[in-house]
């Protein structure tokens, strides 16, 4: 079997890749003998993963969401009571919640284009074969494999008023720029978090872009070159359309990752200064653990889940394949 060649799929850069020729199995499936057995073995193959996801994602999620309608606490001798929408009423009255929403929206709106753009640039830089390409690929990927705890600690040091970043700014500008206390100033804290986050995660999306780039046929570039196109035109008319599917994958993964912002906040700013970096997930963890208000945290989680669902649905609609 190992000798069966992988097919080269049709590549039409201007249009989305056509779906694979529909298998005719569907139309005559019911008539085929062994249909039942196929169903059984199919489900048998799906079952392990499905059961595990059911047991370790769906059930705890439902348990958690159920708590949102009670007054459950992490530690309490008081009986758990059903309280209806109380937690949600409190949540929608809480200015911190709206601030968290705003922060997450800000973070996401900046991160999605900038991080995907930078990741694309990095991917383009190491797409072609050259001496040392493996070295650069490894180095670009390094931040992704480094522990977030270590990374956050390091950036904490660098963001100090007298830290390395301000030293560099000052040196480069011949002492003109006197950098701020990045994480201590409500105006710069979120941008500082954004820079760190992009630095840490861009390597991951670079890899996905690289995948897309490698999938674009070299012949198209040759043809483009024969036509005497400029490099920008090549990018615009060959590369960019060829990345159609990669684009939606990158978009979806960055968005989900951005909306769930938590680790950096937890280590570096704890939501401060003055709520300028707090996020929805951070508020959920803060209420659920530190303040022991499990039910309120569950309500936040439930609202968060619905929000992500809506955002994903909208994105899916906007990036759908237009026939």
């Amino acid at each position: 079997m190992a000798t069966v060649p992988l097919p080269t799929r049709p590549r039409v850069p201007d249009a989305p890749n056509p779906a694979l020729p529909p298998s005719n199995a569907k139309t005559n499936a019911r008539r085929r003998p062994g249909f039942r057995r196929d169903q059984l073995s199919g489900w048998g193959m799906i079952a392990p993963a499905a059961v595990l996801l059911l047991a370790f994602v769906f059930i705890p999620a439902i348990l958690g969401f159920g708590l949102a309608f009670t007054n459950a606490r992490l530690i309490s001798p008081r009986p758990v009571e059903f309280v209806g929408m109380d937690n949600f009423a409190r949540l929608f009255m809480d200015p911190t919640f709206y601030r968290a929403l705003l922060n997450v929206a800000y973070f996401t709106v900046v991160i999605v284009p900038v991080q995907s753009g930078l990741a694309l640039v990095m991917a383009l830089l190491i797409n072609k074969k050259f001496r040392g390409v493996n070295f650069f690929r490894t180095v670009y990927f390094l931040p992704v494999v480094t522990s977030m705890v270590v990374v956050s600690l390091l950036w904490l040091f660098m963001y100090r008023k007298d830290g390395l970043i301000n030293e560099i700014l000052s040196t480069v500008s011949f002492g003109l720029i006197n950098g701020p206390d990045w994480l201590g100033d409500p105006n710069t804290a979120m941008p500082a978090i954004i820079i760190l986050s992009i630095w840490q995660a861009a390597g991951f999306h670079m890899i996905i872009w690289l995948a897309g780039l490698q999938g674009i046929s070299g012949e198209l570039y040759e043809a483009a070159q024969l036509d005497g196109t400029s490099r920008w035109q090549q990018f615009r008319y060959v590369t960019w359309p060829g990345l159609f599917h990669t684009r939606s994958l990158v978009l979806v993964t960055i968005t989900i990752q951005a909306l769930g912002l938590f680790d950096q906040i937890s280590v570096m700013t704890q939501g401060g200064p003055m709520d300028s970096t707090t996020t929805i997930v951070y508020e959920a963890v803060r209420s659920g653990y530190r303040q022991q208000e499990t039910s309120y945290a569950s309500a936040i989680s439930l609202v968060f889940f619905v929000l992500v669902l809506i955002v994903s649905a909208v994105q899916r609609y906007l990036t759908r394949e237009k026939d």
């Binding site: 190992a2 000798t3 060649p5 992988l6 097919p7 080269t8 007054n71 606490r73 992490l74 530690i75 309490s76 001798p77 008081r78 383009l124 830089l125 797409n127 072609k128 074969k129 600690l153 904490l156 040091f157 100090r160 008023k161 007298d162 206390d181 994480l183 201590g184 100033d185 409500p186 490698q214 999938g215 046929s217 070299g218 570039y221 040759e222 483009a224 070159q225 490099r231 090549q234 704890q270 939501g271 401060g272 200064p273 003055m274 709520d275 803060r286 653990y289 530190r290 303040q291 022991q292 208000e293």
Partner: protein, 453 residues
Amino acid sequence: MQRPRSRQDPINPSTVSKQKDRPMNKTLTKVLATSIAAAALAATLAGCGKGSASSSTEGSGEIALWTHNAGNPEELAAVQKVVDSYNGSQDKVKINVQAFPQDSYNDSVVSAAAAGKLPCIVDIDGPNVPNWAWAGYLKPLELGTDLSKQLPSTVAEWDGKPYAVGYYDVALAMMARASDLKAAGVRVATIEQPWTKAEFQDALTKLKALGKWDYPLDIGTAGTGEWLPYAYSPFLQSFGGDLVNRDGFQSADGVLNGDKAVEWAGWFRGLADQGFMAKKSGKDSTQDFLNNKSAIVYTGSWAADKAKAALGDDLVVMPPVDLGKGPKIGGASWQWGVTSGCSNSEAAMDYLSYSLKPENIAAVAKATGAIPASNEAAAQIPAFAEGGANRIFMDFSRQYAVMRPETPAYPFIATEFGKATQDILNGADAQPTLDKAVKAIDANIKSNGGYKK
């Protein structure tokens, strides 16, 4: 810089198809081989891990004890030694020690509590004890020893009963270099005569004028979690405010948002506004102080030995500032309690009684550099004996310690106070910020039925 090449990378998929079976299968084989080897290793580990893994489960005659000092070999060894000597002293029960890293200890224990899997004996941070007792996780202590000999801040009570007892306490202090103070023309504060608010202002102004430091003062504003109420609520109390009205613990109104509190907030904020301290200090205040990035550091007795080793006689240890009602520091550190699910609580109590012998207290306090919980124990440690180098911390503890409010609402109050403090430091208006915290605290108390027994 990048020229378009006529040939694509040899690894692009269209060429991969021709060479795919070799490298790809090799990859797969490599991944699988590595994984299987590792899986076998894991299976072996599981085998040998099991025997010891059962240390947290309690077999007949075995009692588990959880402590917060993994990664602190000195303190852990001292605790282990007490346990070993107890285990050797009788043959009915055996205590098993399980150590957790301190920073995340509370998360570990709370998860275990939520799952109903607590051990017999737990180590708890003092101010959290009433919350635990109220929730029914702890049994009142019935010890054979006299708890009245303990330093008051090492016994945690709730509802009139003792629920936890500790071997030591820690104390907050201000440390500085005598040479710096002299250069600035500032006197050294003493227990007899602590700095007043005006003197403190004057001292900071003079130190700042020396131009040696961006910020002369470091009170650990980068701290998080319990550090915030532990370190900063004593300032509030010295002004005359408090975290909650201690009469019944039903409301924070009037104490956390009263005139005194607003005055405190203005003063606190002013320290940053006048450039005396950073709104967000370095991650390690002591280290910054030793590296001469600050003139005065406000930290705990735990930093004393390190500072002393680095600075020698130039180090001065001073009481916190008297902001009106005398200097204040937070009382209570780590303490031991017995869980209510413990099936052999008699043995657990017996162990605790045994562990409170002066020599045991002295051994643990010595290992941690903390203030021993009794005078008898202190007499056995030269640094804390009369005239010892660290005796001053014991005096601070005796004279200034204020317990954090002994109410089950404390963990909630602590988070609200911590957030309010950070917000005020960063420029939020004091009155509305404090009002907001009071509102949240009062609502929390009310929704818990007043945290009444």
